[in-house]
Structures are given as C-alpha cells and as structure tokens.
Amino acid sequence: MSFDVGVIGGGVIGCAIAYNLAKFGQKNVVVFERQYPGAGSTGRCGAGVRQQWGLEMNCRLARGSVKIFEQLSSELGVDIEFRQGGYLVLAHTEKQIEQFEKNVSLQNSLGIPSRIITVEEALEIVPYLNPESFIAATFCPTDGHANPLLTNYAYAKAAERLGVKVMKFTEVSGVERSNGVFKLTTSRGNFEVGCLVNAAGGYSKPVAAMVGVDIPTYSERHQILVTAPVPRMFDCMVISFTSGIYAQQVPQGSFVLGIAENEEPSYNTNSSWQFLEHITYEVTSILPVFGELSIVRQWAGLYNKTPDSQPILGEVSPGFFVAVGFSGHGFMIAPKTAEIMAKLILGIKPDIDISYLSLDRFEKGELIVEPSVVG
C-alpha cells in the first residue's frame, strides 16, 4: 500500500501533525503507531500548558498553542478538559526573581498576561502554600492544563474523520529509500510513503537511524503520580524550577504531580519507591497539606531530550521530517508545533520562525539557552 505522507508515532505530536495535514487538504496520510494513541509519552505526561517561557520563540509557540487549546474541544469534537487555572511559578532566590523579571517583561511584550506576585498574593491564589518555602512568584492566569489522553484521542479521531489512516499496533522495523520513496517494513506488512515524519517521541533516535540520519536525542525516565480525588483545593499548576516539582488538581479532583530527578539516558519506564520518597519530601515542604492526600498510582514516561532541551523540528534529509526531542514540554506546544510542521511539509511558510530549532544548530554550536525548563 502507498501513502503520500507517513507519520511514525501516534502520540499527540504525530496525530496532531496528521490532523493538520488533512485539515490543509493533504490526502493519503497514514500514522504508524507501535501500540495505540496515548500509549507512550503523551499519555504519561503532566499535561500542563505554560506560556511563561524565557525565550521569544518558546513564548510564541506556547501562546499560539493556548489559542488553539482554547477552542480545541469544539474543533476536534471531544471535550479535552482544557482549563485555564493559571500557572504559579515559585521563586526561591533573588537570582530567580531577576530572571523572572526578564521573563515577565518579554512575555508581556508578546501578549502573555504574566506578572510577578508577592508571597501574600500567591497565598490568595493557593492558600495551602507554605509561606516559608518561597520568596516571590510569577502567575499567568491564562496558562492551564488539558487531559493528555483525551487530547491525543481527539486528534486521532479527528484525523480519521478527515481521511487519515491511523494504524494501531503497527511497528515500523525498517526503512529503505529508493527512487524518491520510503519503503517501510512494519509488523503489519510493507508500505511506501512519499514523505516520512519522525514523531516517535522516546524512540526518535532509533527511528531516525532507520532512515540513516543521526540525531542527538536521548530518552530519560520521568516519574509522576496521581492522588485520590479530593474536593476542589486550587485551580492553578504550582511549579518550582529549583526542585523541578509540578502539581495540578485535574477536573476529576485528583492531583497529578511529578518531579525532575537525576536519570541516566534509558528507555526505562518502571516506577521506583525512591521517587515516592523524593516527591513526598518536596511536595510537603511547599504544600504541607498534601501529607493528608493519598497516592493512588505512580507511573513513568520518557522525556526525549536534546543537548539544549529544545525540540528539533524540520526537514533533516530530503522528504524526511522530524518533530522530536521535546524534552518534557512537547504536549503544551503540540497544537501550534503540529500546525507549523504540517505547513513545512506542505511547503507553506509558517507564521513563527522555527529555523532556530533545526538539526544543524548542534553542528554549528548554536545551542538555544532557555532559562525556564523543568528537568
């Protein structure tokens, strides 16, 4: 069977790229997913949507994505539970405040309504915070959170409605390039595609290697947990770049929280008790009331990282596109990034310049320095 565009990876990035391609009129698009949409990193992520970045490009990608998220449930026909309760970013040192002041002025210049707030103001937003644990904060009321499982599912369903073929349980095991097409060997037969997109998340490097392209991505385990549901306590995401912790109450009442840890590159997605101890210590120091909450379940997913913790986007060899290495913040910028990727594939000029995110920045030594990354 042959298709015009083949996307490897049925996570939010892959499904959203396929959806946008179809939306722009591209026919014969296929998504190859080793398991099912949401089985990999998307379905395991914290799913916060933050616009408070330190680089203009990231602010623009995040702001553009929020605009899409705001109407995505109606566009895709599934309630993806997008809520804008804001993001509260804790500052613990004077140096962080200095950085946050720069970030906020950049964000404001790009139409992102963030602001520096005092400990007292932060306590009005989240009364449960330990006032001794931070010295100031930033808050952006239009940041938010969506349900990553439903968002991924909604993109896949909407793509299918527009004619995209989403092939579940179909693992690509080999790619051969000949006469301008890619010949794919998969667990469900052989396929030919005219143009190939690597959206394989944690497995981006081995997928690129199949095409003969070396990309500097690697994967790292990140752990996360969910509590039993409790009555509404607060609406915003609370994060700290110092400990790398983030905690958010989802609409169903549970809190979902994770923390950055020192991890070696691996494909390990097992859970550890050390994570439970670590996150318990950190969360109860900023939110002492969490002592009374009960942990229902913990799990892990892969951050697909790059040397500068920023994604690699674009065409890396004729007809071969990558949207990889999101380094833990792929979900929040997925809607806008997927739209841009679809435009690049179709030869339409995107409205945000993403040339900074090309693969050759690593060779040229033009790494991106983003001061506001978790983990």
Binding site: Q35, Y36, K168, A228, L276, E277, T280, S294, I295, V296
Partner: protein, 93 residues
C-alpha cells in the same frame, strides 16, 4: 442489545456504564489499556479490581477473542493507597 444492562455501572470509582464501554469498543478501542485511558475505567482508588474482569469479558465477547488474549491493564504501584504523611514518617525512621 438490551437497553437495561447498558445502564449497569461497571466502574464504580469513575461512574462508567457498560453502555459507555460498549460504545468505545464499537468505535474501535480493542484493549483494556485504551479503554482505561479514554474512559478512566480502572484508574480510581479500587485500581480496577471490580471493573477490569467485566471489561475483559465484554472485549472478549464483542471482539470474539479468547479471554487469554484480552489482557488486563498494567498493574502499577503502590499496591494499596498510601498517604504522603505515611511515607514521610516512614522515611524519617
């Protein structure tokens, strides 16, 4: 399809009925993991102890698969619910 048994609540933690599960199976979801992610069945405090056998039986019946091929979702720690406070007290000992 009998209307009455569609109203049976299969997942008591998340309030999901047999009818909702059947609708998603008809839509193309073929595993307990997919149903869990889309419907939240098995994500609640009981950890799927009551709903998973019923969901497996329904998948087996509707897709004509032997029960042995309809796997339960992955079991994840902790085995029972635990308060953060208990972990804090335990690790300070």
């Amino acid at each position: 399809m009998k209307g009455s048994d569609n109203d049976i609540i299969v997942c008591r933690c998340e309030d999901i009925t047999l009818g909702e599960i059947r609708e998603k199976i008809r839509e193309g979801l073929t595993t307990t993991e997919e149903l869990k992610r889309v419907l939240r069945v098995g994500m609640g405090p009981c950890r799927g102890k009551s709903c998973v056998p019923i969901i497996r039986r329904e998948l087996s019946r509707m897709l004509s698969l032997p029960m042995a091929d309809v796997l339960p979702p992955k079991d994840r720690p902790p085995v029972v619910m635990v308060k953060f406070k208990s972990i804090l007290e335990g690790s300070e000992e």
